[in-house]
Structure formats: C-alpha cells, structure tokens
C-alpha cells in the first residue's frame, strides 16, 4: 500500500510539460511517473520512449537540443548516479538539461537498498554543479517543476527537480 497523499499533481505534470514546450520525453520509469508517462505516450505531439539506463538520457536530451527540440527525462533517484558521468556533456556544451526524478530512500522508506542513492544523490548532484530543486510536498510539485524547466531552458543549465517521497507517497508494508 501507499501512504495517502494528495497526488493531483500527477495529472497536472503533463500540462506543465506542454506549457514548457517540451516535445520529447524519455524515461527510465518509476511508479511515481506512471501517469505522466501514459499521457505522454498517448500524445502524438510528444516523442516518448524508454531508455535502458539513465546514462543515455544526457546524450538523447543534448542531441534533441542540437536538433532544435526541448526534451526532458524522467527517472528515479536510484538511477541518477548513472547519469553523472554523462552530465559533463551538458557542462561542456552549454545545452539545457531538465530531469524530473522521484525520490526513494528518504521519507519513510521501507527498502534500505534505496537509501545509498536516495540519501546521497542531492549532494552528489550539487558537487557536480547541477541545480537541484526539491519538491517536498504535493503542493510544491507543479510550481517547482515549472520553475525548474524554465531555469533549464531559459538559462541553459542542467536542472533536476527532485520529488520527495512525501509527495509521491511512500510505500508502506
């Protein structure tokens, strides 16, 4: 089961993606992104496909920018470490990079295997000069995501929105 949270943001995120003029959404899925992924896959104006590994996301998104397109990547915290090496591509080219990651391994986590990444990844991203904007509660998610997207695309920065387990609903067993 999942802790009850107000997850209306899961429907609204799709509208945020559209408002940011993002036309490509790639993902390594997480349950917290499931609704957004379904809506993007159903939209013929969004090129939406899965990746094997978060490492690929940097190249795909930078390549899309190279071709004149805004893209974003959805992932979960346990895979962010896979992208860190490749994020040098963003720093070296000045391309925008926008990721929305759902957090595990923090708020009431039951699975300790999620905590090594969940507890350390915000500091790892900051050490790599990646902007980290956290959405701690359900009410934060939409404004933080939209502000993060605008920062990425208008100021040409790598930006992660980290959505807390307080917002996604921590699994409880």
């Amino acid at each position: 089961m999942v802790e009850a949270v107000d997850a209306g943001w899961k429907d609204q995120l799709y509208d945020s993606i559209k408002a940011l003029k993002i036309s490509q959404v790639v993902y390594v899925p997480d349950a917290g992104h499931a609704k957004l992924i379904d809506r993007c896959l159903a939209d013929p104006e969004i090129d939406c496909f899965p990746l094997v590994n978060e490492f690929e996301s940097v190249g795909v998104c930078v390549g899309a920018w190279l071709g004149g397109r805004r893209s974003c990547v959805l992932m979960q915290s346990s895979g962010i470490g896979n992208a860190i090496n490749a994020l040098g591509l963003v720093h070296s080219t000045g391309a925008p990079f926008f990721a929305i990651a759902t957090m595990r391994g923090e708020w009431g986590e039951f699975n300790g295997w999620q905590t090594p990444m969940g507890q350390s990844i915000p500091r790892m991203l900051e050490a790599a000069n990646i902007v980290v904007n956290r959405a701690e509660t359900p009410a934060d998610v939409i404004p933080v995501t939209e502000a993060s997207g605008r920062l990425a695309f208008n100021s040409y920065l790598p930006v992660f929105t980290l959505i807390s387990q307080r917002a996604t609903g921590a699994k409880v067993f």
């Binding site: 490509q24 090129d47 496909f49 899965p50 990746l51 094997v52 590994n53 490492f55 690929e56 996301s57 940097v58 190249g59 795909v60 998104c61 930078v62 390549g63 899309a64 920018w65 190279l66 071709g67 004149g68 397109r69 893209s71 090496n85 490749a86 994020l87 040098g88 591509l89 070296s92 080219t93 000045g94 391309a95 695309f153």
Partner: protein
C-alpha cells in the same frame, strides 16, 4: 566475431570514402577519439558535432538529433570502445527505430587512443550482432571499398536504423584537432542547421 575477417580497411581512407560527395542533409555526431580526426580531415563543416568527452554519449546524442530532425540523415560515427561504453543506446534505438539514423562503428578491436590495448571487440564482442539483436533494420559488416559504397547509400537512403560495422586496421593516422570548445561546436551546429534565430531561443 569481428576479428575473423581476412581484410581490414585503413580507417581514414574508409571514412573519407564514406563521406565523399557529402549531402548537405547529412548530420554527423562523432565521438572519442580518432573518429573525430577522421571526420574532420574529410572536410570541416559546422554540421559535424564532436564529443571530446562524456565517452559513450555519442550514439545517444545522435539518437536525440535524429528524432528531432526526421527529414535529415544522421550518422553516429564512433569507435568500438566508445560504442561499447554506451551500448545501451543500441537497445533504445531498436525500440524507437528512427529510420533516418545510422550508427557507423569503426572497429579496430583496440583502445586506440590509450595505447592500443585489445578491446572487447578484439576478443569476444560482436557489435553488429548486438545491433541486429537490438532491432536495427539494416546491419552490414564492411571490410572493402564496395561495402563502404553500399554503406554510403544506406546512410542516405536507408532503410534505417542502419548499423555499419567497418572493420579497420589498428593504424593511427595523424591527429587533426577540430574546434575543441563544445559550446562553440554546439552553437555553430545549431546555427547552421536551424538558422541564426535558434541562437536566441
């Protein structure tokens, strides 16, 4: 096994032949390291984008470019170790199936830039086999001029995604350093492809 071929091509001549009479609709993403010198010596153009770092990212970058520009032809020009480091992208390309994308792998079976150590393709790894198993529409093993000529046609006309494994010798032709600054490389590529207004986005 890619090591079993009788004949191997000299890399620079092979790349120059592949890019002969290059179409303005062809976009190239080249990765570390000698593939960049090979592309640069074939003719400097802003429509070559070079990754001098982020090893393993050249092929996913070409995928992002190909999906953003479906009316252009896009080539990822990569060495075997660069491709092996980002081998996941072959599976993703097979899922997305962009018909305008080609991955051309220059396979010498070595880590050429770091002292010529034997690489995975020099022992056990068959990247053309991986591409075929990943769902590439067209897969070719090339080790002679006729094969390069066919690959040039496939790059421009498909059906894609195309994978070309070009079996090359281990020689290391002279380095021709391109513009190394990635910010400049990206800006001039986008300006040439999208027009000057793109720089104001």
């Amino acid at each position: 096994m890619t090591t079993g071929s009788q004949n191997r091509l000299e890399r620079r001549g092979a790349v120059h032949r592949l890019l002969a009479e290059r179409s303005p609709d062809l976009l190239i993403v080249a990765g570390l390291g000698s593939a960049i010198w090979d592309a640069e010596t074939a003719g400097e153009t802003p429509l070559n984008f070079y990754l001098l770092g982020a090893m393993g990212s050249a092929t996913p970058t070409a995928l992002g470019l190909a999906t953003a520009q479906p009316n252009k032809r896009v080539v990822a020009l990569v060495g075997d170790a660069e491709l092996a480091m980002g081998m996941w992208a072959l599976a993703t390309i097979g899922w997305r199936k962009p018909d305008n994308l080609s991955v051309v792998c220059l396979d010498n079976g070595r880590f050429g830039e770091t002292g010529g150590q034997i690489s995975h393709t020099g022992v056990n790894l068959d990247l053309a086999g991986v591409a075929a198993a990943s769902g590439f529409q067209t897969v070719r093993r090339v080790n002679d001029d006729a094969g390069i000529d066919e690959l040039r046609d496939l790059v421009m006309n498909g059906p894609g995604p195309v994978f070309g494994l070009v079996e090359i010798t281990a020689n290391m032709p002279p380095v021709q350093m391109p513009i190394r600054n990635g910010v400049i490389g990206m800006a001039r590529f986008r300006e040439a492809l999208l027009g000057p207004e793109a720089l104001k986005e």
